[in-house]
């Protein structure tokens, strides 16, 4: 067992099959045959409706508290101020441009990160030699927050898009590579043996057993990686950005422009949430075969 294995199971890396999300109770509990199915579906829909209602109430309450605090003299913009600022920023195209710039960076960094992480994770899990060669570097970079790489990245890569995307790439890569690796090493030996006695050779075993068996781990890694990507974004946009949600907020900070900061925060939250939901949907679709407790 290496440090890698233990770390991956930490709170930052929910294991596949476990609920990593408060809304996960709507996960398919199995497409059971027979009479039980309709009741279960109805119950599930009922529970889901209740959850949605509670979510809505919670959001409304949160806004009410915010409003109260703002009117009570705290240094906060009121909700209507933020809404009107959002209108302005949408109207003059600023918000659209910023969101697009940020989203592009996150998507490119995240896509590159996972695209590299998945094969590297597979290779590490499959070949002991490669694991020995790669693992120390991953361990090393894991201990450095991606933001701490930023100065180096700027000096080495200049101040255009490259260093920004690089740090996002790094964050996504590290989260996803460990998860993929874990997925590969935890594939049930019996399944590999079952494939072997049915005549499968290494390549077939890899494609038809190891890859599907690791999918839940990879998807969890991608979700964690996406979170890291967004977390790194704002800081990445510290580097002489011309646009982007993070840049807009830092700019607003100079002028004590709280409504704009709020619009930025809320936009990042909504975009991050949307992307996470898309991944969650993919995860549910691709791992429907998993037994859930």
């Amino acid at each position: 067992m290496s440090v890698l294995d233990k770390r991956g199971a930490g709170p930052g890396h929910p294991l596949p099959g476990q609920s990593s999300d408060a809304l996960d109770d709507t996960a398919p509990g199995g497409t059971g045959q027979g009479a039980g199915r309709t009741t279960r579906t109805r119950q599930r829909t009922g529970r889901r409706g209740l959850t949605l209602a509670l979510n809505a109430v919670s959001v409304a309450l949160g806004i009410a508290v915010w409003w109260l605090l703002a009117s009570a003299g705290f240094k906060l913009p009121t909700p209507p101020e933020v809404v009107s600022r959002a209108r302005t920023l949408i109207g003059d195209g600023t918000l659209g441009t910023d969101a697009l710039a940020s989203l592009t960076r996150v998507l490119i960094g995240f896509a590159l990160g996972t695209a590299v992480a998945i094969p590297v994770g597979f290779l590490m899990g499959w070949y002991g030699i490669l694991r020995g060669l790669i693992e120390p570097w991953i361990q090393f970079f894991r201990t450095i927050p991606p933001l701490a790489i930023l100065p180096l990245a700027v000096v080495a890569m200049g101040i255009d898009e490259t260093p920004k995307i690089f740090v996002i790439f790094l964050a996504a890569f590290l989260a996803c590579v460990i998860s993929t690796f874990q997925g590969v090493v935890s594939v049930d030996r019996t399944l590999i043996n079952a494939a072997r006695v049915l005549g499968a050779k290494d390549l077939t075993i890899f494609a038809r057993v190891v890859v599907p068996a690791s999918t839940p781990f990879i998807l969890v890694g991608m979700r964690v990686g996406l979170g890291s990507a967004w977390a790194t974004l704002v800081a990445a946009e510290l580097i002489a950005a011309q646009e982007g949600l993070g840049y807009r907020m830092q700019n607003a900070q100079l002028y004590y422009d709280l409504p704009t900061i709020f619009v930025g925060l809320i936009s990042i939250g909504i975009l991050g949430l949307l992307m996470d939901r898309i991944l969650l949907l993919a995860e549910r679709r691709l791992t429907r075969w998993q037994e859930r407790r």
Binding site: T31, L191, N193, A195, V197, G199, R288, W289, Q290
Partner: protein
Amino acid sequence: MTSKPAKISVQGVTKTFALGREAFTALDDVSIDIADHEFVTVVGPSGCGKSTLMNILAGLETPTSGRALVDGVPVSGPGPERGVIFQQYALFPWLTVRQNVEFGLRTTGVPKQERRARAEHFIELVGLEAFADALPKTLSGGMRQRCAIARAYSVDPSILLMDEPFGALDALTRVKLQEQLLRTWSRDRRTVLFITHDVDEAVFLANRVVVMAARPGRVYDVVEVDPAVVRDEAFRLSPEFAALRNRVWRSVYHQEGRTAALSGSRTDTPS
């Protein structure tokens, strides 16, 4: 048995595993010959090397010394003539029943149409046609095991190696599957090596019961069952069955006391 060449021949197989700095002897000089069309059960306490023996025959492990032959050829890896049914079903959870059954047909390059037809046939044989497109997680233990059996049958092996296949099932399901297995066996007469820890099961199914002992894993006793016997409920409830069961039971559960009397040439070395 000596007149016919053995279908499976285990010759002086010893298997040791490295356990820390020591070597652990899982199998110690095990020899078993199984004739074509024979149904042999292996029974013994947990840890006596039953699974290790099966893995060696399946080609998943290699003996430390000695040889394992199938059709006179040393085993050097898994082969399509040996179908394996694992203790924990080992179904691919992301594949449906049909896709699980087709797995071996795909790896051996059976064309799609024939694959379909053959999978269909074996799914029907085990009575899972209503669940052909269900995922394993929606199946009961007995259904999963039937799917595993259909998957092993699909590539038409002449030998079935079964490792405690019914171990996790309730008594009723177990009896049903035993009878189903015997029905199929009396039709096709594949050579079967059936591992179990259940004495009743070992006696009911076998032409021959091999009793193993642990520490080190070795053959302890061999009990022959009259080949003329019809394996039905009457047999299960008969005095002959009871006598056989008592014999095997004592062999399994009172090994220490009878070691000297039974082992003959071999003396039991304390481990």
